[in-house]
Symmetry: C3
Subunit: 272 residues, 3 copies
């Protein structure tokens, strides 16, 4: 399939370029984010002080902003790093963890969207709906429950409005660049039972976008790789094994990820 | 046994309610705390900025305060979140990591005890003895070395004084609500050789208390579940496996935890 | 071999003394650093607030300063803790993560070197070359690419200048106290594919130096233990296993580490 060939190219470019992915992220899942980037062949760096984020993003191939444990200090760093990334053409991925839960999270997302041009916005249905509402300033955010019931339209519309790629993750991942919409049918529900799979997906998207192959294909590649790794991890589980083993097998699957995985397991479809 | 039935109810309620446990905690073991809450069926959230902790605790079922890597910023957040939790009836669990080691730790514990009504205080013998001394302001804290030699009296007395459930963890866990005292004889000494088992116990207690079944039974349930999971993890170890595998098996055991585990392995006794 | 006997003594002293290793470190790999210290038989503590680091280092046997995610707050703590450690004779290990990448990192390293007497400086070739250049203020830092091509001279010269033990880690580890130079030929390249092996090496060096057996032998012991554990972890991997399993096996190997491992696998040589 045409799209698979482009995802394979991204995978090969990661191994060749070893892109540096600068994260300003939360302290809950940061270790997993660093390890997943390394495991796929990239190079992670985490730095959040206002006095060094500009320099750090200047040597990076992608910037991942994750607001999981934001604070007033890191909020300024998000904006400084994001603006610098825009200035020098480094793709910016935003993971708006928990937006909608507190005003502080709404505020930082609003400020980032106002000041930074995103390449990819990735969130779950609740987060994306919140941003959709925030951005619209008029529409309620609680009307849609099933991502497949309205997710396509929200992704498409929000992508147009923000002029970036929007990813809604769930049982099916919905990805749109404002023109086309893709569904990815990879993954396993066990992924929702360990912390950080959302954050790790954003890191993988950052890594894939860091190859310079575009935000739409970068987002699709990142989500598909995470989904397939989840499937492979689950398939290795013995009856008596649980989430501890699953997480180990997930990282194994990422570090063993191959072209064949995409060819044999990849399930992405453009939705008309 | 009567008590086991109540613990089983808590386990069932966790699966049914999926309580949200708000943590203000250290950056050393935070990932493990999040994963253990998820693995048992709850929902963890970590947020520590003063400007959002009130809102976050307002949507939570329990609040866990862990001072492991406290700083002046998080100290204020402990108090703000704790007071709000009291106001709206959310149970507060305090894990006074390392209290006694520095004045800063003594100070924050003193301020929390003065301003926040706890549901559960959980620490090791050294920490609880320090608090016993602090709260009394008169009694030395180094007189007792073996938890079984004095722990019962300290737990009972401190629970009365603070009007909360006190948990002293060790080879035997001692739990008192100021009226009764329970000993739990589950666990394995390997639990002391990985970081965060204390923190994770506090998170499990938070999760169990988040079901609304009371702090005494919540504390007993959390400690027993941790102890049994440690036993099961150790029993899976092959001769050549060590602490890396143990931690994986521990998380496996939590995610596979069942009613039968309590019925077959639970060792809790009320001490007269 | 003479040197091996000294390393074995350090290993035995760790089990006997259980040294407390105070870390001021980054939030990316901190959990692994705590676990590796515990797994070898030591006791880790992480504390970074300016108001408690002096007290904490006062009860510690070693201090590890790691600038991985430095910020203006932790920068002051590095200096306060380092000076106190010097005052009371606690060995200080510096891990200058990413020095050279940003001015902030260069600045804190310069300030630490000016104000704190190190026992051990451990970095990769790029980091050590940067410090060599900073300290000299005259020599460029980009002239040498292969650690074996110039690393020996840099380690020897920098160790003399800073009057401490310098460790350059790579495929071969180069260690000098300014008088002698040792090469360690243990390790496996998979160690570079998980985050934190550098940080963990520094923690192990801190633990080994915490036994009071000197910084040169402490540094050699720490690096050799890490290297051998990496070899053993890799040798356990099945064909379908990857970096997730490798990390588990690494921690297993540390917790099972024995005198025989040093005797049978240790590869350290003094270079004339």
């Amino acid at each position: 399939m045409e799209i698979n060939n482009q995802l394979i190219t991204i995978l090969q470019e990661i191994k060749r370029q070893k892109p540096l992915v600068h994260h300003i992220t939360n302290y809950v899942t940061v270790n997993d984010c660093a390890n997943i980037v390394l495991a796929l062949g990239g190079s992670p760096v985490m730095a959040d002080d206002q006095d060094e984020v500009e320099e750090m993003v200047s040597i990076a191939s992608a910037l991942v902003l994750n607001i999981g444990t934001l604070n007033k200090r890191s909020m300024e760093s998000f904006l400084i790093a994001g603006k610098k990334a825009n200035e020098i053409g480094v793709p910016v991925i935003l993971d708006p963890v928990g937006v909608g839960a507190t005003n502080l999270r709404n505020e930082i997302v609003r400020r980032i969207l106002k000041n930074v041009k995103l390449s990819v916005l990735r969130g779950n249905m609740s987060e994306i709906k919140n941003i959709y509402g925030i951005a619209a300033s008029t529409k309620g955010v609680d009307s849609i429950d099933n991502p497949l019931d309205g997710g396509k339209e929200i992704a498409l519309e929000l992508a147009k409005r923000l002029q970036c790629t929007v990813v809604i993750t769930g049982a099916v991942d919905i990805i749109s660049d404002g023109g086309t919409v893709y569904y990815i049918n990879n993954g396993h529900e066990m992924l929702t039972n360990i912390t950080g799979t959302g954050c790790m997906s954003s890191s993988l998207i950052g890594l894939c976008c860091g190859t310079g192959k575009g935000s739409l294909h970068g987002a699709i590649a990142g989500m598909m790789i995470m989904g397939i790794a989840g499937e492979k991890a689950q398939s290795r589980l013995k009856e008596y094994e649980g989430l501890g083993s699953f997480k180990v097998y997930l990282m194994d699957a990422i570090s063993k990820f191959s072209i064949e995985d995409i060819q044999e397991r990849g399930k992405v479809n453009e939705i008309k």
